[in-house]
Structure formats: structure tokens, C-alpha cells
């Protein structure tokens, strides 16, 4: 038999770039993604090294200079016991950037596992778990967290676990619907026709194909974890004093804004805003790159 033509090398035979390279390429061309990345990296830098370049000790009070408006000495002014707001804003990223990512990681791992199992086995397992997850999602995360924290007591670990477990159903739902779609594809039938185990089929065959939606959902969830941690701290159920946390600062100072001491809350608010927006710009960029 002579050479079959389709295997002869032609320019159109195989396409240029691999899938991963294509995603990276389109990420690097996305202005949204790059802007978000710069913002997030700035705050990560502050969390890691903020202590070294903050002009004052964020915990040191200075009653004489309390509630001083922004000046050359205190760029962002001082709070009611004279602590330097600028230093507190810089270092304030530390706790939230520990708690929120850990909570998200927990949510991603638990949610992926739940989503894979419910989507793969379907039937009764799916029905039961899905009902429970839906009940979870029927009340807002902040309220679930409130209930759990009141029941269990406040600590960073509780906040991580509570937010992680509250977000897990949301990630699970995304993973599940992706897995349900994958389950219908013939490569799953092909795996069954090789007597592959359920674990192999779930983790080696299906999981790699549902990574993109997991990645997008996880980045979006990171934004909401920051949202939730900040909100809980603001309400007194999250990060506890004397940590220079942003939400906490706003909570202890916003009672005075009627008196015109705007600098005690504005910069913390802007810090939260920029971090949350930054993370979401990254998420938007990842979403765009993976859905081209």
C-alpha cells in the first residue's frame, strides 16, 4: 500500500501552539488580567514585606497625635489612639491575604471532590448531596458564617473553615455541571470499555477537562472570600483586634465619620476595594483566556 496522503507533512497538518501556550499567550495580551495582576501582586508584596517599609509600627499608639488629619508625617492621618493609618493599611493586607486564600483553597478542594462525585455517580448520591448543597446555598454566606461562628466561637481557623465550607457547594455546583457534560462524552464510555476504575475515570480522564471552569470559579471565589472575610471582620466576627485589619479598622472608626474624620475609614475602604477588584480582574482575564 502506498503512503496514505493524510500523513504527509503539510503546513495545516498540526496546529501551531499547544493549548496551554495559547492560554498563556492570550492572558498576557489581556489588559484586564495584567491590571488585576499588578494590583494583587502589590498587596501580596505589602503582606509579605509591609512591616519593613511601613513608616511606623502599625500597633504603636500615640495619644497626643490621635485623629490627626493626613499630613507629611502621617500620609493617611492617625486613628483615635494615634496609630499611623498608612502603616496600618500597608500591613492590614496580611491577615486577609492569609485567611481568604486558605478558605478558597479549602473550598476548591472540597468543592471539586463533591462536584466530581455527584456529577460522576449521579443517581441517589447526586440527589441527596445536591439537595443538601442547595439548602446551604439558600441562605447567604455571611449568615451561614454568622451562625457557625456564633456556635463555634471566633478564630482565624473558624473563619477559614466556615468560609471554605460555605463556598464549597458553589464550587461543587460548577464542577458538577461541568462533570455532567463531560460524562456524556464518548471518552468516558471508552474508558469503561477498558475497565478503568471509577477513580481513574474521575481523576485522570475527567478532572483535567474540568480544570478550566474550576480555575475560573476558584479565582472568582477568592474575590468573594476576601469580600466575606472583610465583611465578617467589619461585623466583629472575623479577624480580631489588635490586628491592623481593614474591615476591623472601618468597624471601629466608622462611628466617627459624622464628625468628619474621614481618613480613618476611607483608605481602608479603598484598600479593600482595590484588592477585591484586582482579584476579579484577574478572574475575568482567566475566564476570557479559557473561553476563547
Amino acid at each position: 500500500m502506498s503512503a496514505i496522503p493524510t500523513s504527509s507533512p503539510t503546513p495545516d497538518d498540526t496546529r501551531q501552539r499547544g493549548p496551554l501556550a495559547e492560554v498563556l499567550f492570550s492572558l498576557l495580551r489581556s489588559g484586564t488580567f495584567l491590571t488585576g495582576l499588578v494590583i494583587v501582586l502589590f498587596w501580596v508584596g505589602c503582606a509579605l514585606f509591609g512591616e519593613h517599609f511601613a513608616p511606623y509600627d502599625p500597633l504603636a499608639d500615640d495619644i497626643i497625635n490621635a485623629l490627626a488629619p493626613p499630613s507629611a508625617a502621617h500620609w493617611f492621618g492617625t486613628d483615635q489612639i494615634g496609630r499611623d493609618v498608612f502603616s496600618r493599611v500597608i500591613v492590614g493586607s496580611r491577615d486577609i491575604l492569609t485567611v481568604a486564600p486558605l478558605a478558597t483553597l479549602l473550598a476548591a478542594v472540597a468543592g471539586t471532590a463533591l462536584g466530581l462525585i455527584t456529577g460522576y455517580f449521579r443517581g441517589i448520591v447526586d440527589d441527596v448531596v445536591s439537595r443538601i448543597l442547595e439548602a446551604f446555598m439558600a441562605i447567604p454566606v455571611v449568615i451561614v458564617a454568622l451562625l457557625a461562628i456564633v456556635a463555634l466561637g471566633t478564630s482565624k481557623t473558624t473563619v477559614i473553615v466556615v468560609i471554605g465550607l460555605s463556598f464549597a457547594p458553589i464550587i461543587a455546583r460548577t464542577v458538577r455541571s461541568a462533570v455532567l457534560a463531560e460524562r456524556e462524552l464518548d471518552y468516558v464510555a471508552a474508558a469503561q470499555l477498558r475497565h478503568e476504575s471509577a477513580l481513574h475515570t474521575m481523576f485522570v480522564e475527567i478532572l483535567p477537562n474540568v480544570i478550566p471552569p474550576i480555575l475560573v470559579e476558584t479565582t472568582v471565589r477568592l474575590g468573594y472570600a476576601i469580600f466575606a472575610v472583610a465583611t465578617l471582620s467589619f461585623m466583629g466576627f472575623g479577624i480580631q483586634p489588635p490586628s491592623p485589619d481593614w474591615g476591623l479598622s472601618i468597624s471601629s472608626n466608622y462611628g466617627m465619620i459624622g464628625g468628619g474624620f474621614w481618613w480613618t475609614v476611607l483608605f481602608d475602604a479603598l484598600a479593600i476595594a482595590s484588592l477585591v477588584i484586582g482579584v476579579n480582574l484577574v478572574a475575568d482575564g482567566v475566564h476570557g483566556a479559557l473561553n476563547d
Partner: protein, 676 residues
């Protein structure tokens, strides 16, 4: 350069160039395309996927995708320069003179608006309101042979079958009495019998209406039946044009020649030789083309072809874009026509199926997807499964493979040993003995894995190989499906459709299977690629003595590869027998109708047998013979009351019909149905 606009032509494209902007670059899709369609003429445009057929249609109505733009040339519709029209004039042109019908009517109709409203709004544009518009709409539905138009007016699109939806779409297109009707793959995706009905309808409407037609299709036979003239499109260029009969019987471009040779025709079978193929690939969108676009794939090409771009030579009433048009038909075969040895006769069956049933529960009803199927298959044989969608072909295949457990009672025997109904209960040896090549390789090949991983995993699990032995077998296997080492490193999405299907075939053959189920393995492929895959399957069969269960809606393809045929209707075997007996007849009236529905390239006029109505629902099958509601040869009450048995009319050839075999022979002698 713009040609002068002449009023006698319905459509004129002059040097039309269209490009799509991809990754910041304009890529040419249509290159200096010129064609003319006269008043009342039907013009067919054929070509493989990616040649720019649909772009022509969208350009004419100025509905290109956002990234598409007309980069040169002129379009004139009834003497009007389409490109100079402002928004309002363009809208008027669409409302008054040009209409379009395209593939997938289910999506073309608005899902949340009643059929009636979707029709009357067209008349309202012309100032016909209220009851008058209603009446016109009903008249229009009558015209497309919809039997109960008043009730159809009240329905939503999802309540109609695909064939009905396409009739409605045609009615909408004709409602404004256009001078130009564009049909873009109007029957692709419809069942053969429905397709035949819709094509008949279009042919009849042509007699009644004055519209000129631009008919776009990948299916040469459909175009040959519908059109006066045909243009062959390749890489966005017209490579050949002329009267349909002339072009298809006496092609003057090597591409047309090769395309026609790829099709299994005139009842060609695998033991009569291999199909010809077209080497290489279509130039990608926007590829730089030097010389003749087809030169890379043409065995006639010489240096002149590679450097000097051929003009459209005028051969007197026909055109060809080939320097050597006079010897186009001397194009050597790309694939030698080796003949494979016939399967060894009289061996014990490799597969024996008896009394297989599958019932699904559907909204409280029992849906009998497969009913009482019994058949057997010998080593090295191919069993062709044919039937319309919903006939149970794919369910039957899945039952055999164990992907879906059958109802209690039936038996499946592989090489004399009973197979467990569930896949999980079958032994590894049984599993590797029966594998499948799915229709859609994008779904069948895990897109996260490299080709090497896909095939080696199958070798590991099915053949139990590892290390050096696996590596050696991998190389053999890859070579036997004619892939090369370069293909091993890439992921499926980096391969073309044909190459992907080769990977799927390699995987199915990893464990030296006794039976491979091929579920429409070529229906997503272009004809030139299809031919190569069919050849490959035939070669592997004669080499490995493997049996195939080959499912396809394309009867010519089934006939090429099959030794036995089973015709399914509503989950039942209506006819079963040696391929040649089933095709040459006498056959079951349903088989007769299926064969008659196949559009033919040779345009020989044969008596047509058309089926009325839709395939009944499997949840509520007709009483008696399930085919009686559509049967053109129904003999009376017995058909409605008693289900006929599948009785052996001749040795090995069984038919499920009340009409005696001799009588069928007499009835069908008058209309010898020889398929394409």
C-alpha cells in the same frame, strides 16, 4: 474591476473577495470569486468544509460575522449593487427580493414565538395586516404541503419535527415571493426520507415560482438533482463551473475528478477495490497561495502549476481553472485499487445475538428502543446497520458493548460464550474483543491527553503490555493506521478530523479485537477524508480478520463496507440478509423507501417511493406492523392488526412483511431501485 451590471441576471458576483479577521490578521476566505445566476436558474455551489460556501451566502445577504469583511469586488442582486445599499435599502432588499434557508431549522425559528406570528410578520412588512395576513400565512403553509396549517400556526417550533420545521422555514423564505432564494445545506442533518421529501418540495416549488436559486451543499448528488448549473469551490475560488450534467459526467478539473472518485458509487464494494482519495489538506483560511491552489494535492501538477496561477479557462459554456484541463481525467489514482481477499466462509459465528430487548422508562411510558433483535456475524464480516434516527441502531450497539444493560432474557454470545449484560461483569478478554469507533472523535478522544497517552493506555489496559513491548506495539499500531511519530506528541485538537479518527481506530484495535463497532465513523468527515478512512477500515479488516458492526445513514457507504445488512425501524429488524440481496431486492417496503430516498449523482429517473408523515414515537408504536402508518405498499387490515414475523424468504435473507416474497418481487420489479 467591476463588471457592468446587467438586469437579466438574478445574481452577479464580480471578483468578490471576503476575509475574516483572526488574531489581528485578515485571512482571505473568498478569493476573486465571480459567478452569475440567471433569472429562474438554479445554481449549485459545492465544495468541502472550509472552502467558503456558506460565506458566499452570507455575503450576498450582507450578514457576515462580526470579524468578516468584503475586501473587494461587487455583488449585484437583480441589477442592484448590494454593497452600495444603505441600511434601509438593504432591509428592503432582504424584505423584497432575497431570502435564505439554512441548516438546522430548529435554531432558525424563534423558540418563543408561534409559527403563525413568525409568518404573518412577513406579510405585515408588505402592508398586509390582520386576517388577510393570517390567510396568506395559511396559504403559504399549504403551499409547502403542511397538511394542517391552522393548527401549525398555533404551535411553537419545538412542537414540530425537523422536517416540518424546515418546511416552515421554506414557507417563510418564500412568503415575500423573492427573486433570489439561497439554500445553504437545507437538508443536511435531516433523515434520508425526510431529506428526500424536502428536496421534492423544493423541486416542485421551483416549477411554481419564479425564484432563482443558489443551492449550497457538500453533497454532490443533491446538487446534481436540484441544479441547472454547478460551481465547484476550492479554497475560496471557483475551480470549475458548467451545466450540472456536464460537470459531473465529464469533469475538467482534477479536484472535481478526484472528488467524484472518492464517493463509493454504483454499488461499489470493498472486495472490488479501494476508493480513491485526495492527498494532503485544503489550504487553511488565509493561506498564501502561489500558483494553482490545488497543485500540492494534484498528481498532474508540474512546475507551471506551482508558479503560475491558472485563469478560469473558458471551454465553451463551461469553465475550468486548470492549466491542463484537457487531461484532468487522466489524473492518476492517489490510492491503488488493491482488492482485499473475501472473508473466509463457513467459520463459526463470532457473535450471536438472540432476543435482545431494551426498554427505557420515559415519562411513565415504556419506550422500546430495541425489540427482539436476533442476528449473527462471522469473523471478517461486516454487518451494516441502517435505519433513520430513532430506529435503535446506536442503542443496539451500546447493548452489545455492555455500555447499556439490555432487558432480561436476551442473550449475546461472543465466540460461543455468553456475555454478561453489564460491562463491569465481563472479563478483560471479552472487553478487549469488542471495541468501538465513535462518530465524533472530539468526544471520543480525551482532549487532555496526548495521542501517545491515548493509544498506550489502551495498549496497557487491553493488551496488557508495558515497557518495550508496549513501545514496539505502539509503533506498529500507529503505522498501521498511517499516522507518524510526529502525531504522537500532540493533543487531539491539534489534529484534523480524519487524523483524529485514525487515532480512535488505533485505540479500538489496541487489544486485537474480534469485533469493532463503527458508529457513523465518517459522517463528520469530508468525502475525501471519508474515503481514506473507509479504505483503512477495509484494509484492517482483511489483515486482522476482524468483524465490523457498521452503523451509517449513508447507504452507499454501508454498501461499500458491508457483507450483511440489518434494516431497523422503531427498534425492530425489518430486514436482514446478505448485503447484495438486501440492496438488489426484492426488499422490505421500508428498505425500498430508504433506497429510493438516496439522491443520485447520475440523475437517472427512477420511480420514487416517498414516505408520508413522521417516524412514530417509540413510546407508542403503531399496532400490527409498526411500519403500516407510512407504508406505501400496505395491503389492508392485517397490517394494522398483526405484527408480521421476520421470516426467511431466501436462505439467509429475512423480511418482516405480510406481503409474500414473490409478490414483493413482482411489485418491485417494475421499479428497479439501484442505489447510488
Amino acid at each position: 474591476m467591476t463588471k457592468s451590471v446587467t438586469a437579466e441576471n438574478a445574481l452577479e458576483l464580480a471578483d468578490l473577495s471576503v476575509a475574516y479577521r483572526v488574531a489581528g490578521r485578515n485571512r482571505a476566505v473568498l478569493r476573486n470569486l465571480s459567478l452569475t445566476i440567471g433569472q429562474g436558474e438554479a445554481y449549485g455551489l459545492v465544495g468541502e468544509s472550509g472552502c467558503g460556501k456558506s460565506t458566499v451566502a452570507l455575503t450576498v445577504v450582507r450578514y457576515l460575522p462580526r470579524n468578516g469583511s468584503i475586501t473587494g469586488g461587487a455583488i449585484s442582486l437583480d441589477g442592484q449593487d448590494v454593497m452600495k445599499l444603505d441600511a434601509e435599502a438593504l432591509r428592503r432588499a432582504r424584505a423584497e427580493s432575497v431570502s435564505m434557508v439554512y441548516q438546522d431549522p430548529g435554531k432558525a425559528l424563534n423558540p418563543s414565538i408561534r409559527i403563525g406570528r413568525q409568518l404573518t410578520e412577513i406579510f405585515e412588512l408588505g402592508g398586509i395586516m390582520g386576517q388577510a395576513a393570517q390567510d396568506r400565512a395559511i396559504a403559504m403553509l399549504n403551499r409547502v404541503r403542511i397538511s394542517d396549517p391552522t393548527s401549525v400556526m398555533q404551535r411553537y417550533p419545538h412542537q414540530l419535527s425537523g422536517g416540518m420545521q424546515q418546511r416552515v422555514a421554506i414557507a417563510m423564505a418564500l412568503a415575500n415571493d423573492p427573486s433570489m432564494l439561497i439554500l445553504d445545506e437545507p437538508t443536511t442533518g435531516l433523515d434520508a426520507t425526510v431529506e428526500a421529501e424536502v428536496l421534492d418540495l423544493i423541486a416542485q416549488l421551483r416549477q411554481e415560482l419564479s425564484a432563482s436559486i443558489l443551492f449550497i451543499s457538500h453533497n454532490l448528488a443533491v446538487v446534481s438533482n436540484m441544479c441547472d448549473r454547478v460551481g465547484v469551490l476550492y479554497a475560496g475560488m471557483l475551480v470549475e463551473e458548467g451545466p450540472t450534467e456536464v460537470v459531473f459526467n465529464d469533469p475538467r478539473h482534477p479536484y472535481t475528478v478526484a472528488l467524484l472518485r472518492c464517493l463509493p458509487r454504483g454499488g461499489q464494494r470493498k472486495d472490488q477495490g479501494r476508493l480513491d482519495t485526495i492527498p494532503g489538506f485544503l489550504p487553511g483560511i488565509g493561506a498564501a497561495i502561489k500558483g494553482c491552489a490545488f497543485a500540492d494535492r494534484c498528481a498532474l501538477a508540474d512546475d507551471r502549476c506551482r508558479t503560475e496561477s491558472p485563469p478560469l479557462y473558458d471551454l465553451g459554456g463551461r469553465l475550468s481553472r486548470c492549466h491542463y484541463h484537457e487531461r484532468a481525467q487522466a489524473l492518476p489514482r492517489a490510492t491503488p485499487s488493491n482488492v482485499a481477499p473475501a472473508p473466509r466462509a463457513a467459520a463459526a459465528p463470532v457473535l450471536r445475538v438472540a432476543g435482545l430487548n431494551k426498554t427505557y422508562a420515559s415519562h411513565g411510558h415504556a419506550l422500546r428502543a430495541v425489540k427482539d433483535v436476533s442476528l449473527d456475524l462471522r469473523p471478517g464480516e461486516t454487518l451494516g446497520l441502517v435505519g433513520e434516527s430513532g430506529s435503535g441502531k446506536t442503542t443496539f450497539a451500546r447493548l452489545l458493548l455492555g455500555l447499556v444493560p439490555p432487558d432480561e432474557g436476551g442473550t449475546i454470545e461472543l465466540e460461543g460464550k455468553a456475555l454478561a449484560p453489564r460491562l463491569a461483569d465481563r472479563s478483560d478478554d471479552q472487553i478487549k474483543a469488542m471495541q468501538i469507533v465513535f462518530q465524533n472523535p472530539d468526544s471520543a478522544l480525551n482532549r487532555s491527553h496526548s495521542v501517545r497517552h491515548l493509544i498506550s493506555r489502551a495498549l496497557k489496559r487491553l493488551a496488557g503490555l508495558s515497557g518495550k513491548a508496549l513501545e514496539a506495539r505502539l509503533n506498529d499500531l500507529v503505522r498501521s493506521v498511517r499516522l507518524t511519530d510526529r502525531h504522537l506528541a500532540v493533543k487531539p485538537r491539534q489534529l484534523s478530523g480524519g487524523l483524529k479518527q485514525r487515532v480512535a481506530i488505533a485505540r479500538a484495535f489496541a487489544g486485537d479485537p474480534r469485533i469493532v463497532v463503527c458508529d457513523e465513523p465518517t459522517s463528520a468527515l469530508d468525502v475525501s477524508v471519508q474515503a481514506a478512512i473507509l479504505n483503512l477500515l477495509a484494509d484492517l479488516q482483511s489483515k486482522e480478520d476482524v468483524s465490523y458492526i457498521f452503523i451509517s445513514h449513508d447507504l452507499a457507504v454501508v454498501r461499500y463496507l458491508s457483507d450483511k445488512i440489518a434494516v431497523l425501524y422503531l427498534g425492530r429488524i425489518m430486514e436482514f440478509g446478505p448485503s447484495e440481496d438486501v440492496f438488489s431486492g426484492p426488499h422490505h417496503p421500508y428498505t425500498e423507501a430508504l433506497l429510493s430516498a438516496v439522491p443520485r449523482l447520475d440523475q437517472t429517473e427512477t420511480a420514487r417511493i416517498r414516505l408520508d408523515g413522521e417516524i412514530p414515537s417509540a413510546t407508542n408504536p403503531p399496532s400490527g406492523c409498526v411500519f403500516h402508518t407510512r407504508c406505501p405498499r400496505k395491503i389492508g387490515a392485517v397490517c394494522e392488526q398483526q405484527e408480521p414475523p421476520l421470516s426467511e424468504a431466501q436462505p439467509g435473507h429475512s423480511i418482516r412483511c405480510h406481503i409474500p416474497y414473490g409478490e414483493l418481487a413482482r411489485l418491485q420489479k417494475a421499479v428497479v431501485t439501484e442505489p447510488a
